[in-house]
């Protein structure tokens, strides 16, 4: 990385040097709607940072702001040591940005798309051949290099888009829902690629609607109504929600759901295949009550046990807390 001329001492300076994306009070308005509302985000070098949040929370807007695609209404943002409000163009060589929607040229072939972006990113001609070959095999697209982009499958399109954003070997990657609409196998492959990049030292900021993907990140930020409401490592988020989880396996889950929703201490009931997940204030305390109640109602169950909350439950719990707070 070459973005800093850092020679300062002290732990504070070291931390600042390590920060590659930083926003302070970042805000963006669309007409009369404030989409991003005082967002404070810090991403350090080498992190695989997952940005999660409900639809419309401002994930895409945040990424577009960081890529210099949208004008900042208020606050400040620094990417790769450059102030986005003052020199958005200077940021561009240092980032790779992948849009949520397929944004490559459908009528061009895989190779032509790669080549086009390599030229826009000023990749030297002598490096271009080797780099495109490597990216093609990295993304598993070598057999399809002369196929038109419009004829690729959804997963391959995403991988091609990623390859195009990697062509100039950017130290920072901004990926907007790179796996949405992709089959599970391709999703896994895609994440393997991301992990490899992360291991190679690239800083990655990725948004995702999939909670299992958030679990694969080193740092997770939860964005809600344009604000960052929680930012920590995945385990810390899961542990820090202040609620516990009970898993109930039953054949009569519809009936059980109605019953469980009215029980004291249960804040949320979620269906999960043939089992129900109950968010409760304290699992061990509530287990006997639930057991009694199920027997009273004559609902047979295969198992009932306390379990560790997953990212999904943590997410729902956090969002609900936030909503409750807002209503109050």
């Amino acid at each position: 990385m070459n973005e800093e001329n850092g020679n300062g001492g002290g732990p504070a300076a070291a931390e600042r040097r390590d920060t590659v994306i930083e926003t302070r009070g970042l805000a963006r308005d669309f007409k009369d709607l404030r989409a991003i509302d005082g967002l404070d985000l810090t991403v350090r070098r080498g992190e695989l940072f997952g940005l999660i949040g409900p639809d419309g929370a401002g994930k895409t807007t945040t990424l577009r702001l960081l890529a210099g695609l949208l004008k900042i209404t208020d606050g400040s943002a620094t990417v790769a040591g450059r102030d986005l409000t003052r020199e958005p163009e200077a940021v561009k060589p240092h980032i790779g940005y992948m849009a949520q929607r397929f944004s490559l040229y459908a009528e061009l072939t895989v190779m032509e798309n790669l080549r086009f972006f390599s030229e826009l990113y000023d990749v030297l001609p002598r490096e271009r051949g080797e780099r495109t070959d490597r990216l093609l095999s990295f993304a598993g697209l070598t057999p399809f290099k002369s196929r038109r982009a419009e004829h690729l499958s959804g997963g391959m399109k995403k991988k091609l888009a990623l390859a195009c954003t990697l062509i100039h070997q950017p130290p920072i990657l901004l990926l907007d829902e790179p796996t949405t609409g992709v089959d599970p196998v391709s999703r896994r492959e895609f994440w393997d690629i991301l992990t490899e990049l992360y291991t190679g030292g690239t800083t990655i900021l990725v948004t995702t609607p999939y909670m299992d993907e958030a679990d694969r990140c080193t740092q997770v930020g939860l964005i809600y109504q344009g604000q960052l409401i929680r930012c920590a490592a995945p385990e810390a988020i899961r542990a820090g929600i202040g609620e516990e989880l009970i898993e109930l396996q039953t054949d009569q889950w519809r009936k059980a759901q109605v019953v469980a929703e009215d029980l004291p201490g249960v804040s949320q009931v979620m269906t999960y295949g043939d089992s129900l997940h109950l968010l409760v204030d304290a699992a061990e305390e509530r287990l006997p009550d639930i057991e009694t109640r199920l027997e009273e109602e004559g609902i047979p169950y295969r198992s009932l046990r306390a379990t560790r909350p997953r990212m999904e439950e943590a997410f729902i719990s956090l969002v609900r807390d936030r909503e409750r707070e807002r209503l109050r």
């Binding site: 669309f30 577009r64 890529a67 210099g68 695609l69 949208l70 004008k71 958005p88 163009e89 561009k92 060589p93 980032i95 940005y97 992948m98 849009a99 929607r101 397929f102 944004s103 490559l104 040229y105 459908a106 009528e107 061009l108 032509e112 080549r115 086009f116 972006f117 030229e119 826009l120 990113y121 000023d122 038109r148 888009a161 195009c164």
Partner: protein, 371 residues
Amino acid sequence: MSLRHLKAVVLKEIRHVLRDRWTFILVLVTPISLLFIMAYALTVDIEDVPIAVMDHDQSAVSRNFIQQLSAGEELDVVARANSLEEVERLLVDGTIKVGVIIQPAFGEYLVGQRGLRLQVIIDGTEPESGTFGMEQVAQRTEAFVVRSLPTGSAEWLRPIELKTRALYNPGLEPRVDLVPGLISMVLGLPALSVALALSREREHGTLEQVLVTPISRADLLVGKMIPYIAIGMINVVAIPIMAMAAFGIPFRGSFGLFFLVSIVFLFAMLSMGTLIGVFMRTQPAALALSFLVIFFPGFFMTGIFYPIAAMPDELQMEAMLLPGTHYAIITRSIFLRAVGLEILWPNVLALAGLGVVFTAVAAFFFKKRLG
């Protein structure tokens, strides 16, 4: 400016055009084939103007007169009417453009030098044929009157003779000057393509991925224009050949000058297209605006058909802001008047200026941002 970026954008745009055979054919051949059709439609020797005659005299003189009217190609007596109502009906349904009513005692009066008992009614709704038909009837009537009257007295009708001579286009054939004029119209099509190409990138979201690259705005816009300028130039070379070979339009000036000035014109025109593409987010909107600012005014305000001198002063100024106005002057001057830069430089300069201004405004408003 980066040549590498420019080249990448140019190649990409050329690929877009080449990849789909239909797009390629359309983009390449619409200008020249359109001009061919329009030139063919302008093959106007106004002749065979349909007229009706109502003969209330039925004398040898009146029959002679009718014969005089129908001699030659210009007028075509398609009906003999028996009443004024019939003449009216024929005019209303468009069967005839001119009605000639020979009143009773037409022959008697003429022979007795007492006057001309003749009424002519013309259709005032058609711009050309009605007026032309009326002129023809008037000319023949005059010739007939002159022959019927004793020598001497007839010359009173035209005491001063006006001899006319049309330079560059002796027959005042509309096609000869309209075809060079209309080149500016058909070269508006590449400008439409550029406007569509830009708005298509927004529509398809492909612009988003390009905007995050370090490419400069000017490279992106100019890179989009170059392929369409090239396609326009192919037409620029082919059009004079077609005009000369198929329609006998003279090309008297310098072809090299025509070629060079056409590059400047295409630059100005495509800058206008680029400006439209920068502001319009969807292709239908880009088409609509192109029609409103390029094609519709192109027909009526660039002096091709309706002379600019006859427009209100305010609109003459506006006409000068349209590249087509200058180019129509230039093409006619090179094709017909055989003049060069020594006379045309203000128009060439205006074209270059318009191109630079349009491109600059486009680049100014084209932020490397979404929304």
